[in-house]
Subunit: 181 residues, 2 copies
């Protein structure tokens, strides 16, 4: 079955600093038409830092869009669409936690809300952590804390960590480390 | 440390069918100001259906916002902010796959992109599956397929399943079933 929807007409509704909102008319696989409202985004990175002793470094951050303080792994936007995601991951990890890792392992792509959000997040696991000083943006406020990976995995299974990229990254890190990676 | 950002001024930029875009001025924890661009959303549900023999029922669906056909678990929007998520999960599962489950187990909340997206997704695991006939919306096109849970978990670990809610749900289902849940 052909599943692809083709662009018939594309309209930029709002061209913000972070959110670029479009409302497109698309041709459906059966020849019909529909409207797709969606957000374009420059792209982002996230990193789960795991220490040699099996702890992870997480953050508490207030998320205005959901009105809650969430537990998350370090993450941030690309500086531009051209920025290398690996370099961006090193930068965000250092800025938010002060960590410089020996190694960043690629975990692949995470689409958080692909029905309406074009944001492509590149996910990494950081190992061999050297701890230095953080360097937060002026409008960034977060609390960094350390917790055993196993304890964080239990919080995911209990539904107590609600950020999607953090859920995925914790469970992947647990399974990968169990396999000796 | 106080992390909460308070609303100073809220402006509705676009009031669409699915996307409700706001641009708010907020007061930061240090008394400064910043702008938050974010999307309000009615809320959604997703369901990972697992058979007694250890298969999962997944879908291939074209996602216009990311320009790719993704592998996903069944999911959909609430009909209204008042709709009971449990009932919505039963409805979406039946509409997209024809499945009526004996049991829906609550897995908690998934926020896919909380930096800019208010969408709250209620996640469930369906067990005791009865298979009937699907009933798709007129503008919904998807291919339903069955795959062993273990094989789907490997696809996540290899970075070949990129939808975040599907990554989380597959890894959680795997861990929960290993624990006899």
């Amino acid at each position: 079955m052909e599943l692809i929807e083709k662009t018939k007409e594309s309209t930029l509704i709002f061209d913000g600093k972070v959110v670029h909102l479009y409302c497109d008319t698309v041709t459906l696989p059966n020849g019909g038409e529909s409207i797709r409202e969606y957000v374009k985004h420059v792209g982002a990175v996230c990193v789960i830092p795991v220490t040699d002793s099996g702890d992870v470094i997480l953050e508490k951050q207030y998320r205005y869009a959901v009105g809650e303080t969430l537990i998350e792994i370090p993450a941030g936007k690309l500086d531009s669409a051209e920025e290398n995601p690996y370099e961006a991951a090193l930068r965000e990890l250092r800025e938010e936690t002060g960590i410089i890792p020996d190694e960043l392992i690629e975990l692949g792509i995470y689409y958080g809300s692909p029905a309406i959000m074009g944001e492509k997040i590149h996910m990494y696991m950081a190992r061999g952590l050297q701890f230095g000083k953080d360097d937060l943006d002026a409008d960034e406020f977060l609390e960094v804390f350390t917790i055993p990976l196993q304890r964080a995995v239990e919080l995911v299974l209990q539904g107590k960590i609600t950020d999607g990229k953090t859920q995925t990254a914790l469970l992947r890190a647990k399974m990968m480390i169990e396999r000796g990676l």
